[in-house]
C-alpha cells in the first residue's frame, strides 16, 4: 500500500503544538484524546468539534458544535489559528446510516483537509485511520507492514472510506510538504469504555463464529491508543504507522477466555444472525467487513511505530482483551465450570 515513510528530515525545529483541533470529540476516543491534550501545559487551547454535544464533560476543551462536512470548519481553523489537527472523525459504526457515515468520513475529511491546506498557521495533521484498509482475505500474507498492498482491497463500508480518506491525506501531504502528516492505522480498540460493533459482538449471549475458520486478531487498548495519538499530536512523527497491541489472539481463544458460548455457523448464517441482531438486538454495525475480519482475521507489523516512538503499547492484544472482558463483566464459561466441577468434585481429592 502506498504509505508515507517516516521522513528523515524530522530534525526540523518542532515548535510545540499551541492550538489543537480535535474532530469527533463527542465520541469516546475524541473525548479521551482531548482530555489527554488539555492536561499538557504546553498546549494553549484545545478545540473540540462534533455534530452532537459531548456526552461527558470535556474540561477546558472548547466545544464547537459544527458539521465538518461544511466549509465552516475553515472559519474555526483560521479564527483560532489552529496549528495541529487531530482528525478522529472516522465513523466505524456504519450500518445504521451508511450514506450519512460515508459523507461524514469522506466529505468531512475533504472539507477539513481543504481548510488545512489553506491555513498558514497549520503545522501538523494526525489522522486516525484503520487497519481495515488492508482488507481481510484468505490470500493475505500472515502479517501486514505499512508498505504492503492489500491483496483484496476493501470494497465497501468504513474500510473503503478509510482507504479514500488516506488517499486525500496523501494528496495534502504532497501539496503541503511543510506539514507533518501522521496516519495511524489502528487495530480494533478494546477497553473498559469501548462501545463498538466488536464489543457488542462479544456481548452477545451466544457468540456466532464462522465454521471452520479461526481468525488471528489484534486489539489496541484504549489507553494505548490515546497515548499514541497524544504523542503524535505533541511530537513530530510524520508517516504512516500500524498501531496494535503486541501478540495475536485467536477468536476462539478470546471467546474462551471471556467465557462466551460459541455457536459455529456457516458464514451466510452468521451474516443473517448479525443482520437480525442489528435490526432487533441493538447490534449496530455488524457489517460485511466485520464478518470478513471474523473469518480471516488480520495481523499488523507494529515495528515501525515502536522504533519511531521508542515505545511499546502497555497492553498486549490479549491483555487489552482481558481488560475489556474483566471490566465489562464477561463471565465464566459454562464448559469450563462444568469441567472443573467434574474433575474436582466437592469433597474430592483436592
Amino acid at each position: 500500500m502506498s504509505s508515507m515513510r517516516p521522513s528523515a528530515s524530522r530534525a526540523r525545529a518542532s515548535a510545540p503544538a499551541r492550538v489543537v483541533l480535535v474532530t469527533g470529540v463527542s465520541r469516546f476516543l475524541g473525548a479521551r484524546v482531548a482530555d489527554a491534550l488539555q492536561a499538557d501545559p504546553g498546549i494553549e487551547r484545545v478545540i473540540g468539534v462534533d455534530t452532537v454535544p459531548p456526552a461527558m464533560p470535556i474540561g477546558r476543551t472548547e466545544f464547537v458544535r459544527i458539521d465538518i462536512r461544511t466549509p465552516s470548519i475553515a472559519k474555526i481553523i483560521n479564527a483560532a489559528e489552529v496549528d495541529t489537527v487531530v482528525h478522529l472523525n472516522l465513523v466505524t459504526m456504519t450500518s445504521a446510516a451508511r450514506m450519512k457515515a460515508k459523507e461524514i468520513n469522506v466529505i468531512g475529511t475533504m472539507q477539513l483537509l481543504a481548510a488545512c491546506q489553506r491555513s498558514s498557521a497549520m503545522r501538523k495533521i494526525v489522522v486516525r485511520s484503520s487497519a481495515a484498509v488492508y482488507g481481510s482475505s484468505g490470500h493475505d500474507p500472515a502479517v501486514f507492514t505499512e508498505d504492503d498492498e492489500p491483496v483484496l482491497p476493501p470494497t465497501s463500508g468504513y474500510a473503503k472510506d478509510a482507504v479514500e480518506v488516506e488517499g486525500y491525506v496523501r494528496g495534502l501531504a504532497r501539496r503541503r510538504s511543510d506539514l507533518a502528516v501522521s496516519v495511524l492505522r489502528f487495530a480494533n480498540f478494546l477497553g473498559p469504555s469501548v462501545d463498538s460493533p466488536l464489543s457488542r459482538y462479544f456481548h452477545m449471549p451466544v457468540v456466532p463464529t464462522v465454521f471452520g475458520f479461526d481468525p488471528r486478531l489484534q486489539f489496541i487498548h484504549e489507553d494505548d491508543g490515546v497515548e499514541v495519538l497524544r504523542r503524535m499530536a505533541v511530537e513530530d512523527h510524520p508517516g504512516t504507522f500500524n498501531v496494535a497491541g503486541d501478540g495475536v489472539v485467536l477468536l476462539s481463544q478470546a471467546l474462551r477466555r471471556a467465557g462466551r458460548s460459541i455457536l459455529r455457523l456457516p458464514a451466510p448464517a452468521v451474516q443473517t444472525l448479525g443482520d437480525m441482531g442489528r435490526r432487533f438486538g441493538g447490534l449496530k454495525g455488524f457489517s460485511p467487513e466485520l464478518l470478513r475480519w471474523l473469518t480471516y482475521g488480520r495481523v499488523l507489523d507494529t515495528e515501525r511505530l515502536a522504533v519511531e516512538l521508542s515505545w511499546r503499547p502497555k497492553y498486549s492484544s490479549d491483555e487489552a482483551f482481558a481488560d475489556f472482558a474483566d471490566s465489562q463483566g464477561l463471565g465464566q464459561s459454562l464448559p469450563l465450570a462444568l469441567f472443573d466441577r467434574l474433575t474436582n468434585p466437592p469433597g474430592g481429592r483436592r
Binding site: H139, A142, V248, R256, S333, P335
Partner: protein, 316 residues
C-alpha cells in the same frame, strides 16, 4: 551418488521401536510403572483440556499453536507416519539443529500428505525436534477447517513476505516449488519432477542468506494413484483437479484411505547461499542456475531412493 554414504549412516537410528522391545524384563515392575505413568498421563491430559477450554495458550503471529500441534495434531498423524507408511528418514544431519533453513521437496500424492509426513518426521526423528513451517497454496486457506488447522500446525501462505519473516525468525521453512503441477500429476508421470516455478524460493533463500536443503520424498506418489482427472467437476468446485484413483470415487469415502506404500524421505547436503550477494536474488541468471541445481539434485536423489526402496508395496 554423493549422498549415498549419508543414507547408510542414518539407517540404524531409523526405527526406534525396534530397540524398545528387548527391554521386556520384569512384568510386575512394568505394570506398576505403567499405571503410574497412566495416572500421570491422565492428569496431564486433563490439564491440557482445561487450558484449551480456558484459552490459556500462546500462539505466534502466524497462528502457530505449538501445544495443540504437539498434543493433538501430531499424535493424530503419527500412526500414519509410523505404521501406515513406515516412513524412513535419511540424512537428518543435513537439517541444522537451530537457525533458519529452506527445505525444498518434491510434491506428489494427489493430496498433500507428503507435507505433513515431512513435518512429523522432522519433529519426531530430528534430534532438535524441529517444527517445519510449510508454505501452502492459497487454496488451503480458503477451505473451512483446513484453513485454521494449517495455521495452528505452523504453516502459512506461500508468499515472499511470509517466507522471509519465518526465515528471519530462524525457522525451518518447507516449500514444494512444483505446487499443484507436482501434487496433481498423473500416476504415469510419477517421480518426474515438474517445472520449479519461477524460482521464487531461491530468491527468498538468497535474500535471507539461509541454506537450501534439497529433500526427496519417495512413496507419496503411490498413495492415491491418479489415473484420470474430471476437469469439468474440478472447475465447478474451484479445485485445480478432480482426481480419479482406482478406489476414488468408486468406493466413496473408502477411496480416501491412502494406499500403504513404503516411504523414504531423504535430505541432501545443504546448498549454501551466503557466498552469494543478497542482491543477486534479483539476478535471474543466478536464480535460474540455482533452481536448476536444486531440481537436478532432488531428481537424482529420487532415482537413488527408488532403487533403494524397490517395490512400493508389501514390504516393511
Amino acid at each position: 551418488m554423493k549422498h549415498e554414504p549419508v543414507m547408510e549412516e542414518a539407517r540404524p537410528e531409523m526405527r526406534p521401536e525396534a530397540q524398545v522391545i528387548p527391554l521386556n524384563t520384569d512384568a510386575a515392575d512394568r505394570l506398576a510403572h505403567d499405571s503410574e505413568s497412566l495416572d500421570h498421563k491422565i492428569a496431564s491430559a486433563l490439564r491440557f483440556v482445561r487450558r484449551r477450554l480456558s484459552g490459556e495458550y500462546e500462539i505466534d503471529e502466524f497462528g502457530f499453536d505449538p501445544e495443540l500441534n504437539d498434543r493433538l495434531l501430531l499424535p493424530i498423524l503419527r500412526p500414519l507416519y509410523e505404521r501406515w507408511f513406515r516412513v524412513e528418514m535419511l540424512g537428518l544431519e543435513n537439517v541444522p539443529d537451530d537457525g533458519a533453513a529452506l527445505v525444498v521437496g518434491n510434491h506428489s500424492g494427489t493430496l498433500p500428505i507428503d507435507g505433513v509426513m515431512l513435518q512429523v518426521g522432522l519433529h519426531d526423528d530430528h534430534p532438535a525436534h524441529r517444527n517445519l513451517r510449510l508454505l501452502g497454496a492459497d487454496l488451503v486457506y480458503q477451505i473451512p477447517v483446513l484453513a485454521h488447522l494449517a495455521r495452528k500446525s505452523g504453516h502459512t501462505l506461500a508468499c515472499q513476505a511470509d517466507a522471509a519473516r519465518l526465515l528471519a525468525k530462524g525457522q525451518v521453512v518447507g516449500v514444494f516449488p512444483e505446487g499443484f503441477k507436482g501434487v496433481g500429476k498423473p500416476y504415469s508421470e510419477r517421480y518426474k519432477l515438474q517445472r520449479f516455478g519461477r524460482g521464487g524460493f531461491v530468491a527468498t533463500a538468497l535474500r535471507a542468506q539461509v541454506p537450501i536443503i534439497p529433500c526427496a520424498i519417495v512413496g507419496a506418489e503411490e498413495i492415491y494413484p491418479k489415473i484420470a482427472d474430471l476437469k469439468p467437476l474440478a472447475r465447478l468446485l474451484g479445485f485445480p483437479y478432480f482426481p480419479v484413483t482406482p478406489t476414488w470415487p468408486l468406493f466413496g469415502a473408502l477411496g480416501l484411505v491412502p494406499l500403504p506404500s513404503k516411504w523414504i524421505i531423504a535430505f541432501g547436503e545443504p546448498i549454501p547461499t551466503d557466498e552469494y550477494d543478497p542482491a543477486q536474488a534479483d539476478d535471474h541468471m543466478t536464480v535460474f542456475d540455482l533452481t536448476d541445481q536444486v531440481r537436478e539434485t532432488i531428481q537424482n536423489m529420487l532415482y537413488d531412493l527408488l532403487r533403494r526402496r524397490g517395490p512400493a508395496f508389501f514390504r516393511v
